[in-house]
Amino acid sequence: MRRSLLLVVVLTCLVLAAASAASARRDGTTLNLVAYSTPKTVMGKLISMFQDTPAGQGVSFTQSYGPSGTQAQAIVAGQPADIAFLSTGEDVNTLVKAGLVAGNWAAAPDHGLAADSVVVFVVRNGNPKHIKHWSDLLKPGVQIVTPNPFSSGSAKWNVLAAYGAMRRLGKTDAQATAFVQKLFQHVVSQDSSGRNATNTFLAGKGDVLLTYESEAYAARQAGQDVRFVIPRQTMVIQLPIVPLKSSPNLAKAKQFIEFVQSPAAQDVFGQYGFRPLDKKALQKYFGTQLSVKPGQFTIADKMFGGWPKVDKTWFDPTHGRMVGIEQKVGGPTGPTQ
């Protein structure tokens, strides 16, 4: 009797395995969207809108949201994906290196992007520590919350924004790097993703959170009481959306991306706190802040030279600048917790 029970159990497992293999080859068009952790709400809306358009009729979607780096690794490991919507160009380059995305993805319409955002300071109600400029972050006793720069795309944007802001203010490469180090001496928590850092801040830790502007809006729209400050010098965050070369529905995937870049969808991005690529929508939702533009810079700026260079210089796990900074800040010679 027990032997047959064993047999039943083993057979069940095999059946389930086969069933899953079968269901992977589905009839009808399904697009698998693999995205970073925070745009779940806005993408949900865009997908419904797309399905109402002629191009989107009868197209079903699966959605997966998680930390950008992890999602990229998952796609490399074989996660079925037709569209990848990630938080840094470097994560897309991971896919390029694995041969899954075309090397010239940034030459696509709108530079292969879905939307923009900027790095902002999220502060407590009333901004008790009066944080407005990057230099205010170094005031004595100011506690900063940011994710870990090696695992989080958001943290990378933060580090580069801090460095870039100093360069824009006329500091040299060495001085700007030193600023980043001083900044990290005030960091009290390094979560693995941007959203986790947001939640740490909302749990009461820290005086200022460095994050995407869209993140601050997301928190606000979810009923959290947040205030944020846009520093005059800050980085424009560019969020890439790319089709996967191996997609069985490549044409449809490209149509969805086209839709995401269309004025209607861009307006929705604006509603949800992203900075639209579409000029009209940008003016509509962020018109009052556009005067800040002169202080803003992107990854293409001379001082960065693009993601591959930046990733090697700053975020290489053995030789990147952040390795040295983390060690000097936290290591045996640094301040103890």
Partner: protein
Amino acid sequence: MLGTITAYLTVVVALPIAALVWESKRHGGHTFWEVVSSPEAMAALKLTLGAALLVALLNGFFGTVTAWVLVRDDFRGKSLVNAVIDLPFALPTIVAGLTLLALYGPRSPVGIDVAFTRAAIVLALCFVTLPFVVRTVQPVLHELDREMEEAARSLGATETAAFRRIVLPNLLPGILSGVALVLARAVGEIGAVVIISGNLPYRTEVSSVLVMNRVESGDGAGAAAVAVVLLGVSFALLLLVGGIRFLLTRHERAA
């Protein structure tokens, strides 16, 4: 039968571990050591081991006391307390982390804020490993022949002496089994710790978080290297405690 067990264990456990060890050596032994002996990895390992040992001591002591109270003592609500002990097993670790953060963090209703410090790591680990020692000591205590104690008492030994010379030696194997489990679990725990510790490299980053960060930044080989070291350490701890236990129970086997 032995074949079935080995096959099962191979597919489920041994194969993944083999893949891990392979991956950690992928870039050569030199890189393996580079990663593993890097200041950040060493700092994380020291922190992980230190916290695990402290938690083993804490739960070893309090777990024994709790088991004692549950077996030898009697009070209203004792069976409720007994049932509640296993709950850390039932709660998903991230939730454990969230509640500890809510209770002993910046918004603590009892005014204790230890979140984002090393103390928080010890706290989280204490919670998730709490049941181990209690549950390994209870049955031993239950089975313990009280006649020996009573004989000692009637021969004039004080309660403390009776405890120290009769009860404790008999409990020790049970306590050690529990401690081994605590150590093994504490070294690998991530869910509860990652929420409440702050994960500051060199200060509050444990090895399992370091592995996670490595995985997320695409450095699979580096992650595997640290993971393999962690595995080796747990293995060594398990074998060590098992060895001590073996030595202590020599007299039982000789009988």
